[in-house]
Amino acid sequence: MTLVKEAPVRPAKKRSAAPAAGRRGRRRENLAGYLFMSPWIAGFLVLTAGPMIASLYYAFTRYNLFTPPEWVGLDNFTTMFQDPRWQKSVEVTLKYVVVATPLKLLLALGVALLLAQSRRGQGLYRAAFYMPSLIGASVSVGFVWRALFSDDAIVDRTQKVFGLNVGGWIGNPDYVLYSLVALSIWQFGAPMVIFLAGLKQVPRELYEAAEVDGAGPFRRFWNITLPMISPVLFFNVLLESIHAFQVFGSAYVVSNTQCGPADATLVYTCYLYQKGFKEAQMGFASAMAWSLVVAVALVTAVLFWSQKKWVHYEEAAK
């Protein structure tokens, strides 16, 4: 590890002494670097890039894993766009992304604002709020969630206090997706930590100046905090949306592996999984995967484009 880290430093020293030898040395060092990286490069090529290219090819074939893939052109895509379950999975996923991402970020930002103030035991609070993110993706939490949102469990009892008699959410196609949203929001730790770091970067003198000018807390937040952390906010929006598009584990476990009831938690990746690994329609599943890649790329592009409207980089201001 240390070798790789130190490698770029050495050529600089050598170059001053003998330029020719230095170049050779650098090449040698590059070679060494690549050699050390080779397990990871090999892993990337064999386990990531290779399968991706293969799946791009499969997307245009009918492939049931047993008989060789058969070229069908765009058939998978046309079937997919007409498939009511595919449409349903897109609808479910979009709903999830649009509801879960903003709520999660709002909570993360809110808690980060509270934790940014120095007070006794702040380390403890930060750790406590971050904790759910560490265990959030695990299967056991999915089971706990099933229990929490069942009939007569804590959520049901709480909502009854407010006169809501909808029963448990888990078996109800109209509500079950929101239990997944709740699970996602609960894992706000990662964006919160990033927000915290961003908040620490905001120069204190801006607040002091604003205070002198008589700006209240809301004004200070709106006119100083928000613009100053907008790059961090942008980063979080980007990352969390991409994550949300790929949600799988929680839907799979909370719905008892069925992504139901009545396809209510049939998120995109879950349908992809069913098509690929249950029904062995690998061509169709590959087409789905690449469509998701394109869709996420588009969303990312739109976010990047929107940056100039609302993201404030300090360099640009100078």
């Binding site: 040395g25 060494a32 090999a42 894993l65 008989t67 448990g168 078996g171 196609p173 069925q258 690994f277």
Partner: protein, 429 residues
């Protein structure tokens, strides 16, 4: 870092070489598969099955017995639950690395025969490595496709109605052999009126029950290569079912969904449930009431449409040790000790040797035995043909779409259309 470039390079190259060698080695061990033979002639077979913990414990005991009798054959067990089993199997089989011997069912024979995965055990029987004698009630035919013997049945089971005995008694209703659907639903109505619980946990999504209903009407769910009923037939089935869910005669699917993986019957949400008779053991463990097996309702007062299904053992066509696979299967289906250990967990034991060796003592197994004897005596047992390739996908779709209907999310006619469209894709797959 103060050493010269040459030394450093040599060290680096060595290190890199070692890394590559290790990786290569890991790859070799990873791909080699685990079944094979070692120098001393010992053969290792991979054996995979699905099922609950009691089955796994029992099977492991039978493996120990086998290894004692055949010291040159070692068995490496692999087990999961039903769903995961077939996902894993499909992936392994497509990579040419399925287990040598595995549990199988009638719904998967054509599918994996078409894909060339199943070993035809007939030739092994001809060379004396496997006995095809002494199978009861002709169940051996369950493992045959187009003249090939692709599976050897370990047991025989049939669909049944499991009832909450206390609830039925309290409501004063009785399940009789040959009762009609009208009588059955009337009984459920009485239960609902008197006990304020649903009558049934949700029959609408069970493909094997709909199959019986169709058989009672001279049809069947599958022909050799297609569905054996019309869209209208299914629309009717689901229209009736949805009415019964609405009226509370059939349990609220939201509640059934929540208690999973527990059954709605053992959770006390309803008083009866259709399932395979050898599954009835689960209810005693899960629930607080007493449970018993009751006859399938009929159209004409006699014909239930039932047949004996089977779990079976199959071999992999590409196994390096077909002889040992055959010996293993033969031992597992014929040895009386194995029968004693397994009991009726995978259905009533398929061969006379095992059937005679095991005498049920607990009420559940006694109930299963009495039930199948009663059904056999009534002379209603029909024949089952191996399902077409894709049947497993259709079974899952039937359950899922039936669930959408009962949740009121899909109209029965649309649901029926959807099933037919998915079935078409599944048969083509």
């Amino acid at each position: 870092m103060g050493t010269g470039g040459n030394v450093e390079r040599r060290t680096i190259l060595k290190a890199a070489g070692a890394t590559a060698a290790t990786l290569g080695l890991a790859a070799t061990t990873g791909c080699g598969g685990d079944s094979g033979s070692s120098g001393d002639g010992t053969v290792t077979l991979r054996y995979a099955w699905w099922g609950g913990e009691p089955r796994t414990i029992a099977i492991k005991k039978t493996i120990a017995l086998f290894e004692k009798k055949y010291p040159k054959i070692k068995i490496k067990p692999e087990f999961t639950d039903y769903q995961a089993f077939w996902e894993k199997f499909q992936t392994q089989a497509s990579g040419g690395n399925p287990p040598d011997v595995f549990q199988n069912a009638v719904g998967f024979l054509r599918k994996y025969d078409k894909r060339g995965v199943l070993l035809d055990l007939k030739s092994q029987a001809d060379s004396g490595n496997l006995s095809l004698d002494n199978f009861r009630n002709g169940v051996l035919a369950n493992g045959q496709v187009d003249g090939k013997q692709l599976g050897i049945p370990v047991g025989a089971n049939t669909m049944a109605l499991v009832i909450d005995l206390k609830a039925f008694k309290k409501a004063g209703v009785e399940a009789k052999m040959g009762w009609t659907w009208d009588e059955y639903f009337a009984a459920l109505q009485t239960i609902q009126d008197k006990l304020k619980i649903a009558g049934d946990t949700g029959y609408h999504g069970i493909m094997y029950l709909y199959d019986l209903y169709l058989r009672q009407n001279g049809k069947a769910f599958f022909t050799d290569s297609d569905l054996g009923f019309t869209e209208d037939d299914l629309t009717q089935w689901w229209t009736d079912a949805y009415k019964r869910v609405k009226s509370g005669l059939v349990a609220d699917p939201k509640k059934i969904e929540q208690v999973q993986p527990k059954s709605g019957l053992s959770a006390g949400l309803a008083a009866s449930e259709f399932t395979w008779d050898n599954f009835s053991i689960r209810y005693e463990g899960e629930g607080e009431s007493d449970y018993g097996l009751a006859p399938i309702p009929t159209m004409d007062g006699k014909h239930t449409g039932q047949y004996l299904g089977s779990l079976m053992l199959s071999g992999f066509s590409g196994t390096k040790h077909p002889k040992e696979v055959a010996q293993f299967i033969s031992f597992m289906v014929h040895d009386p000790e194995v029968g004693k250990i397994m009991g009726y967990d995978r259905g009533i034991l398929a061969t006379t040797e095992q059937y005679d060796a095991f005498t049920p003592t607990d009420p559940t197994n006694k109930g299963v035995k009495a039930y199948e004897e009663e059904v056999a005596k009534a002379g209603v047992l029909g024949k089952i043909t191996p399902h077409p390739s894709g049947a497993d996908v259709i079974e899952a779709a039937f359950l899922r779409i039936g669930g959408e209907v009962s949740q009121g999310k899909t109209k029965p006619a649309d649901a029926s259309k959807a099933l037919f469209s998915e079935a078409k894709a599944a048969f083509a797959g």
